[in-house]
C-alpha cells in the first residue's frame, strides 16, 4: 500500500494550487466581503476543464480520477471555499446525475455545455419544509400532454443565482398512483423558472446561493431525468458522490486555516519568543496536523473505492463527517492561535471559520452521515 502521491497527483495539486493562489488569492477577501461571484475567474477556470472534471471525454469533459477530483476541489477551497463549492456542486450533483441516469440524447444535450462551464449546474432538493427529509418535498409536478407542469419553491440552492441547468426534485401526484419523487431538468430561460434573492449567508458568501421559483413551469418529457419514481434513488446516489467533493472542500478549508496558523505562530512573538515555541500552541498544531492527515486518508480511501467500482457510500459518509468536523475544529483553533487578530477581517482566518461550519450541514448533515454509517455498521455486525 503506497501512501505517497504519484507524480500525476502531485502535478494536479501543484497546478491547481498555482491557479488558485494567483487568481483566487488576491480576490478571495473582497468577493466574500461583497458577496460577489467573480465571473472574470470563471472564464479562466472554464479553459482549465474545472467544470468538466467528472464528465466523460466524449462530452467534452476531462473525466479525471476521483483523487485528482478531490485534490482539485481541495486546492480551490484552500484559497477560496466559495469557488471550490461552485465547482464541486456543479460536477458531483449537477452533471454526474445526468451522466449516470440520463438518456444518451440528454447527455449529448446537457453535458457538453456543462463540461465547458458555459452552463453551471445546480441541485434543487431542499425546501422550507424538506431538508433532511427528502421524501417530503412539496414541489409538485402534474403530468400533462407532453411533459409536466411544476410548481414550488426550492431554497438554499448552491449556484442558484448563476445556474444554467437545475435538477429539480418534485413529487408527482397523478391520480390513483401513490406520489413519487421525480427529477426534472429545468433550464435557465424556461418560462416559469426564476431565481429568487441571493441569500445573505454567514460563509460561502461569494457563491450565489439562492431560492428558485417554479411557477407553472412547463418541462418537456425530454427533460425528465431517469425513470419515473426514481427521484429518491437519484438524490441518494448523487449525494453519495457529492460527499467526496464536500469532504475535499472541508479538507481544503482546514488545510488553509492550518497553514495560516503555522505561519502566524512563527511570526507572532509574546514574552520575547514566537508563540510556536509554547507547548500549548504546539499541541494545537500537532492535533490539527494529525486530524487533517486522517481526514485526507479517509477521503482518498473513499475515492479509491469509487474508482474501483466498489461500494463507497459508507466510506464517503465517513470522510464527509470527519472532514467537515475537523474543518470546524481546525478553523476554530486557527482563529484561537491568531488571538485578537484572528477575529479581525484583516486576516483571512475568520473567513475560513465562517466558511467551515456549513460543511457539517449541507449535502447531508453530520447527523444524516451518522445515520448512513450506523446503518452500515449495524447491518454488517450480527
Amino acid at each position: 500500500m503506497d501512501f505517497n502521491p504519484c507524480m500525476k497527483h502531485k502535478l494536479v495539486r501543484r497546478t491547481v494550487r498555482d491557479f488558485s493562489e494567483a487568481e483566487l488569492g488576491p480576490i478571495a477577501h473582497e468577493i466574500d466581503r461583497d458577496a460577489r461571484f467573480p465571473w472574470e475567474v470563471i472564464e479562466k477556470m472554464r479553459g482549465l476543464n474545472y467544470f468538466g472534471l467528472q464528465i466523460p471525454r466524449k462530452y467534452g469533459g476531462a473525466e479525471v480520477d476521483s483523487i485528482s477530483y478531490a485534490i482539485t476541489i481541495e486546492e480551490l477551497s484552500r484559497v477560496c471555499a466559495s469557488l471550490g463549492l461552485c465547482v464541486t456542486v456543479h460536477n458531483s450533483v449537477g452533471a454526474q446525475p445526468i451522466n449516470s441516469f440520463g438518456t444518451e440524447k440528454q447527455k449529448e444535450r446537457f453535458l457538453p455545455p456543462m463540461a465547458s462551464g458555459e452552463r453551471i449546474g445546480a441541485f434543487c432538493l431542499t425546501e422550507a419544509n424538506a431538508g433532511s427529509d427528502a421524501s417530503g418535498v412539496e414541489t409538485n409536478a402534474v403530468e400533462v400532454e407532453d411533459g409536466y407542469i411544476i410548481n414550488g419553491t426550492k431554497i438554499f440552492v448552491t449556484n442558484g443565482g448563476i445556474c444554467g441547468v437545475a435538477l429539480i426534485f418534485a413529487t408527482v401526484t397523478s391520480g390513483t398512483d401513490k406520489p413519487s419523487t421525480n427529477v426534472f431538468i429545468a433550464e435557465k430561460d424556461m418560462p416559469g423558472f426564476s431565481v429568487g434573492e441571493i441569500e445573505d449567508l454567514c460563509g460561502m458568501r461569494a457563491n450565489p446561493v439562492s431560492s428558485l421559483f417554479l411557477e407553472d413551469c412547463r418541462v418537456p418529457l425530454d427533460n425528465c431525468l431517469g425513470q419515473s419514481g426514481s427521484g429518491i434513488k437519484i438524490a441518494l446516489t448523487a449525494l453519495d458522490s457529492g460527499r467526496i467533493g464536500i469532504a475535499a472542500q472541508a479538507l481544503g478549508i482546514a488545510q488553509g486555516a492550518f497553514e495560516a496558523a503555522i505561519k502566524y505562530s512563527k511570526e507572532r512573538q509574546q514574552f520575547k519568543k514566537p508563540i510556536s515555541s509554547f507547548q500549548t500552541i504546539q499541541n494545537y498544531l500537532a492535533d490539527m496536523a494529525t486530524e487533517i492527515d486522517a481526514g485526507r486518508l479517509l477521503l482518498y480511501r473513499a475515492c479509491a473505492l469509487k474508482d474501483g467500482n466498489k461500494p463507497f457510500g459508507t466510506e464517503a459518509a465517513m470522510a464527509k463527517l470527519y472532514c467537515s468536523s475537523i474543518a470546524t475544529r481546525t478553523t476554530n483553533l486557527a482563529m484561537q492561535i491568531h488571538g485578537g487578530y484572528g477575529y479581525s477581517k484583516e486576516y483571512d482566518v475568520e473567513r475560513y471559520f465562517r466558511d467551515a461550519k456549513v460543511t457539517e450541514i449541507y449535502e447531508g448533515t453530520s447527523e444524516v452521515q451518522r445515520l448512513v454509517i450506523s446503518r452500515a455498521v449495524l447491518s454488517q455486525h450480527t
Binding site: 497546478t15 479562466k44 479553459g47 482549465l48 474545472y50 469533459g61 479525471v64
Partner: protein, 279 residues
C-alpha cells in the same frame, strides 16, 4: 503544402522557491525540502512555442537534462500542449556546469530532433541564474541565435525578434534553424488544463536518453566535463546590524529623516534637513 514547424523547448526543473522554508535567523534556505517546478523563464519559452504552434502549426519537443524526478516538468509541458518529451538523464551528467550542460543538450537535440527549426530556451534559471546555457548551445550547434528576446514573429523561415538590450530597443532577424532565449516580459504563461494533464500521463511516453545514447564520452559530461570547479558553497551571513524604529508613524518619519538625512537626501537629491522649530 507546408511542413510542420519543428520546435524544441529546453526546460529545467528548479527548486520551488516559494515552498522553501526560510530561516530568518540564519537567512538560510532549506533547499532539500522543496519540490521542483518548471523554471519560470522556461515557462515563458514554452508559452512562446505554444503560441507559434497555435499560429503556424508545429510539433513541440520538450527536453530536459536532470534526474528521474525531472520527468515531472516534461509531463507538465505535455499537459500544456507540447507533443513529445525527452528526459536526458545519466548519473555521469551530474555536477555539470553550463559548458557540459550545453554540450549534452545539444547532442540530445541532434539525436532526437536533428531537423529542428527553432530551439527556445528561457533566458536564465531561477536557481543558478547564469543565463549561459542558451548562448553556449548556440555555439555548440553553430546556428544563429538571439538572447533575451521579448517577442517573436515568424514569416516563413525568417524569424524577427524584438528585445530591450541594455537600454537599446532592438529588432533583429535571423533565418531558421536557430535558437532564441526568451525573457519573462511578454507571453504570460498559461495554466495547466486538467484534461491535458491526464493525457500527459496516459497517452504519451517520455523518451529517455543516456550518455551512451548520445555517443558522448563521459569525460565531456557532468562534473568531469566542466572547466569550472566549485571550491565551496555557503550562505552569506544574513544578520545585518540594523536600526529598529518603533513608535507612532509621525515620530518614526521624523526620526528617519533626522538620523538619515544624508543618506536619503543624497539619494533623492534634495535637502531634507529639518530647519524649522518643531514642538
Amino acid at each position: 503544402m507546408t511542413t510542420m514547424l519543428k520546435l524544441v523547448t529546453c526546460i529545467k526543473q528548479v527548486p520551488m522557491v516559494s515552498e522553501l522554508p526560510w530561516d530568518p535567523r540564519t537567512g538560510r534556505l532549506k533547499r532539500n525540502l522543496a519540490g521542483g517546478m518548471i523554471n519560470p523563464a522556461c515557462r515563458h519559452a514554452l508559452e512562446a512555442a505554444l503560441i507559434l504552434k497555435n499560429t503556424h502549426g508545429a510539433e513541440i519537443t520538450v527536453i530536459t537534462m536532470g534526474a528521474d524526478i525531472a520527468e515531472e516538468v516534461l509531463r507538465e509541458a505535455l499537459a500544456m500542449g507540447a507533443d513529445r518529451g525527452i528526459l536526458v538523464s545519466d548519473p555521469k551528467m551530474a555536477g555539470a556546469d553550463t559548458l557540459a550542460t550545453s554540450l549534452v543538450l545539444s547532442k540530445a537535440i541532434k539525436k532526437a530532433c536533428a531537423d529542428f527549426d527553432l530551439i527556445l530556451c528561457g533566458c536564465h534559471t531561477s536557481d543558478s541564474e547564469t543565463a549561459q546555457v542558451g548562448p553556449q548551445m548556440i555555439e555548440e550547434l553553430d546556428i544563429p541565435g538571439v538572447t533575451y528576446a521579448d517577442q517573436l514573429d515568424l514569416n516563413g523561415r525568417l524569424l524577427s525578434l524584438q528585445r530591450l538590450s541594455d537600454n537599446f530597443i532592438e529588432t533583429l532577424e535571423m533565418e531558421l534553424p536557430g535558437l532564441v532565449t526568451i525573457t519573462t516580459q511578454k507571453q504570460a504563461p498559461r495554466y495547466v488544463p486538467l484534461a491535458g494533464l491526464q493525457d500527459a500521463f496516459s497517452q504519451t511516453d517520455i523518451d529517455r536518453l543516456s550518455l551512451a545514447d548520445l555517443d558522448l564520452d563521459s569525460e565531456l559530461a557532468g562534473a568531469k566535463g566542466s572547466p569550472t570547479k566549485i571550491l565551496k558553497v555557503y550562505s552569506p551571513t544574513a544578520t545585518k546590524d540594523n536600526t529598529v524604529l518603533k513608535g507612532s508613524a509621525r515620530k518614526i518619519a521624523q526620526q528617519l529623516f533626522d538620523q538619515f538625512d544624508d543618506k536619503i537626501g543624497g539619494a533623492i537629491g534634495k535637502d531634507i534637513k529639518n530647519y524649522q522649530e518643531r514642538p
